[in-house]
């Protein structure tokens, strides 16, 4: 190896030799640094050259540090020049919008049409999600000032309260379908989706056990209902 690096010096440097200065400055990748370390451990001549490089490295830093710093004049000149600039360039966000506009302008009409369709679909999905959140947060028709916002007034109607159920809707249920179901059953959502279950209240009048069982059975038969369990 010693002979090899000497020979290299006479001809052309080896890859490892050329990496030594970067190793001294700590700018090599972990892989290259490992290669250099291994070569240094094997080749004393290379290690001697590395010691010379460390000296050059230290003195280059010393030399540059001795150059001092610019005077305040440079900064004054810069900020005076900035103040003298006519108007600030458009903001970064505007430049971004220009880039985005440029991007869309570069698309073919067919690509643009597909993108628009996908965008419309995304908007519909987004509307669905927003609707679901709104419906989920909707409480009963009226509340008193003394009542907690989370507690629907219907809960305080006494033992003869209308029937309630915990319902889990199918994941692909659309807001329009859920709204239609609520209308059909004269139901309202009285509690949010805890564990994916909504608490529904049906009508304003109490029902018998048989009526409730029939109601649950009908609900279970709905396409968009995965689970319906009567609750007190």
């Amino acid at each position: 190896m010693m002979a090899m690096s000497k020979k290299m010096l006479e001809q052309e440097p080896s890859e490892i030799e050329m990496l030594l200065p970067f190793h001294a400055a700590g700018t090599l990748s972990a892989r290259d640094a490992r290669r250099v370390e291994e070569a240094l451990a094997r080749d004393p001549e290379l290690a001697r050259q590395y010691a010379v490089i460390r000296e050059e490295y230290a003195e280059t830093i010393h030399l540059n540090e001795s150059l001092g710093a610019p005077s305040a004049r440079a900064m004054q000149k810069l900020f005076a020049a900035i103040d003298a600039e006519p108007a600030r360039r458009p903001s970064a966000s505007l430049r971004w919008s220009a880039r985005i506009a440029g991007f869309f302008a570069s698309l073919s009409p067919r690509t643009l049409a597909w993108s628009a369709s996908l965008g419309a679909l995304a908007l519909l999905l987004q509307a669905g999600v927003i609707g679901a959140v709104l419906v989920k947060n909707q409480t009963s028709t009226y509340q008193t000032a003394s009542l907690s916002m989370n507690e629907p007034v219907t809960r305080a109607l006494g033992p003869e309260a209308p029937p309630r159920a915990l319902v889990r809707f199918a994941p692909d249920a659309r807001v329009a379908d859920i709204t239609a179901l609520l209308d059909n059953y004269q139901a309202s959502i009285v509690d949010g989706a805890k564990g994916g279950m909504f608490r529904l209240q049906f009508g304003n009048k109490p029902m018998t056990k048989d009526e409730i069982a029939g109601l649950m059975s009908r609900l279970q038969g709905e396409k968009i209902v995965n689970l319906a369990v009567a609750t007190p």
Binding site: P13, A25, H62, P70, A74, E85, A92
Partner: protein, 166 residues
Amino acid sequence: MQVLYGRHHVRVFRFGLRLVRDEQVAEDLISEVFLDVWRQAGKFEGRSAVSTWLLAITRFKALSALRRRKDGELDDEAANAIEDTSDNPEVAVQKKDTSEALRKCLTALTPEHREIVDLVYYHEKSVEEVAEIVGIPENTVKTRLFYARKKLAELLKAAGVERGWP
């Protein structure tokens, strides 16, 4: 801008000064560099470090400044400007100050060699970053630095300093 200036202006100044070898020109250079940065902030694509971008602009501005003046005139002026009271390499060696001699020889390198030595050792730029700043292939960065170091060794040898390499 003040934060950016505060963080980078000294290194930009030193890099520029080592290239143009004139403090007034180097100071003008940093004003121009940061004004350009202020004007073109939107063009910075974030693919490289800000310091790499700044050094590339500084180098471009420094070379433009050098081109605006006659080379000979600049070299004479520059030599006068950087002349200090310290010893030349030979005298430094006689006084057994190898470090001083090494620094003198680093100053005596050609601009092409100086910039690559500074970028790697002082500005701690990687092969890829130096290639980006100087605008040369990565392999050329490595070979150019190697030959800069060889030249440095020759200058030191001429000044009577033997370091055991090459």
